[in-house]
């Protein structure tokens, strides 16, 4: 084949020529291939349309000029590279604005470091630390009938009164005792003055304790009652520590003072079933903090009660769990929800 195409060097070409002189078969094959080559060349002869080649160079030049003038497409990254960055920035802005990170820098830092932020969950309450049904706060100086079923077991009220008495004894405010006496005497749940009931160690959040609560007296009440009893008999150091933990409230924050003043300006009259006012929430919050009540059930406010809500975010409380008597669940009864409205940080 190389001989046919003239691709052999001089030495090898001479050798093939010598061979072809002697070999008929190779000579015949060579002739056949040469003939096929000629026929193929004739069949593949290309004729362009008339005048095609005369204008070909100018057409090529025009095409080159068009390519040079046409704007070059920018690389994908330059064209659309800004898009992912813009999307990421927008997403970050939405996350920040929606999650209120500026109020909770520690959350932001943790998120930034991709850390899991543990929700502050208090340990399971030990049986002796069950938070009982809480007291209901009323408007200052205005006795209010309970919204829930008014009839309450007398025994339960006595228990409540006893606990209030015990709690009131631990309170630094002397008026709490007087009110507690009124409760136990009248059988009504008459609320003490706001400022007087700030620290009890236990806050009753229900106007009508649930039947379950009526069945079994809360352990916390027993605990305080026992503590008082022991006091008379000479309490131990440990119980003393327990009481101290439930006692002495921290000083009232400035915001609470303003809210308390607002309460006073409003007159403090409450209707039955009305939500707890911010000042009361302050006390509740303090109780939560001192008693280390775990977070759990989140109570969301209704629009109607928004004016009575205090933002726990201001006070640093995320949520409040309400432990039912006997340490049962974190689902409060409906009357509890009516009694207390807690705004959560948005």
């Amino acid at each position: 084949m190389a001989f046919l195409d003239g691709q052999l060097d001089v030495t090898r070409r001479k050798a093939v020529e010598e061979h072809l002189k002697a070999c008929l078969e190779c000579r015949s094959l060579l002739e056949s291939l040469e003939w096929a080559e000629r026929e193929v060349a004739m069949a593949e002869k290309v004729e362009a349309p008339e005048g095609y080649y005369q204008t070909f160079a100018s057409r090529v030049a025009n095409r080159i000029a068009e390519r040079e003038l046409a704007p070059r497409p920018r690389p994908w990254l330059l064209r659309w590279g800004w898009l992912p960055a813009a999307a990421a920035a927008a997403f970050a802005a939405v996350v920040i604005l929606s999650n209120d990170y500026h109020r909770q820098p520690h959350l932001f830092e943790a998120a930034r470091k991709r850390q899991v932020i543990p929700i502050p969950i208090a340990p399971e309450p030990r049986p002796t630390e069950t938070v009982s049904v809480l007291e209901t706060y009323y408007a200052e100086g205005a006795p209010v009938a309970p919204a829930a079923p008014a009839a309450q077991p007398a025994e339960q009220e006595k228990d409540l009164a006893a606990s209030r008495t015990a709690a009131g004894a631990a309170s630094p405010r002397p008026t709490a005792d007087a009110k507690a006496d009124e409760i136990s005497a009248s059988g009504e749940l008459a609320g003490p003055k706001t400022k007087a009931r700030e620290t009890t160690g236990m806050v009753d959040m229900t106007r009508a304790p649930s039947p379950k609560a009526a069945a079994e007296p809360p352990a916390a009440y027993d605990r305080l009652a026992m503590a008082e009893k022991r006091k008379a008999e000479g309490i131990s150091v440990e119980e003393k520590a327990d009481k101290e933990q439930a006692a002495s409230p921290p000083p009232l924050p400035a915001e609470d003072k303003l809210l308390a003043k607002r309460d006073a300006d409003r007159g403090g009259e409450k209707k039955a079933g009305e939500a707890v006012e911010p000042a009361r929430y302050t006390a509740l919050k303090r109780v939560v903090q001192t008693r280390q009540v775990a977070v759990g059930r989140v109570l969301l406010p209704s629009a109607a009660d928004s004016d009575t809500c205090a933002s726990p975010g201001v006070y640093g409380v995320e949520a409040v769990v309400i432990y039912l008597p006997n340490g049962g669940g974190a689902v409060p009864p409906p009357d509890v929800e009516r009694a207390v409205r807690i705004c959560l940080p948005q």
Binding site: M1, A2, L33, A36, M42, A48, A61, R63, I64
Partner: protein, 166 residues
């Protein structure tokens, strides 16, 4: 020309335009597509002049570009119109040929189109005898031995068939 002088490029275009057009025409069997490929070949060669390796002939470099563009055109054609190349209508015959000549011409071209693609490529590049084995191997990126063997097998197949036609 490497500095971007389009006027200096024209002589190169005029020198190799026939060979490039003929190659594209033989591979694509269509004037319009061949014209498009031929023009595009020179445009791309102009834009890539900086990449031209002066150790080889400019014609070899041009043929490489043209061959690749022909492959792309054939792939595009197959994608849009899944017909065998051999089924292309034999309308590419030179209208100036006589009836018998045009008929045998078309049949020989049809036989060439029936060859395996790799043999057909080498055969068509060798038709004008403008390219050596080394230049064909460079254009198709195959060894010189493969060029020789494919060329031999293509001619060996065609010879008896051409005898039958003629």
């Amino acid at each position: 020309m490497l500095a971007g002088d389009r006027q200096a490029y024209n002589p190169l275009v005029e020198r190799y335009q026939r060979a490039v057009y003929a190659l594209a025409r033989r591979m694509l069997r269509d004037h319009d597509q061949a014209d498009e490929v031929a023009q595009e070949t020179f445009v791309r060669a102009y834009s890539s002049l900086r990449r031209y390796d002066g150790r080889y002939r400019f014609y070899t470099w041009i043929v490489t570009i043209a061959t690749n563009l022909c492959y792309d055109a054939l792939k595009e054609r197959k994608r849009s119109q899944p017909l065998e190349l051999t089924e292309e209508p034999a309308s590419d015959c030179d209208p100036l040929e006589d009836a018998a000549g045009s008929d045998s011409c078309a049949r020989i071209r049809a036989e060439i189109d029936h060859l395996p693609p790799e043999q057909r490529q080498v055969l068509l590049l060798r038709v004008d005898r403008d390219l050596s084995y080394q230049e064909i191997s460079r254009a198709l990126k195959i060894p010189v031995g493969s060029v020789m063997s494919r060329l031999f097998r293509a001619r060996q197949k065609l010879a008896p068939r051409i005898k039958e036609i003629l």
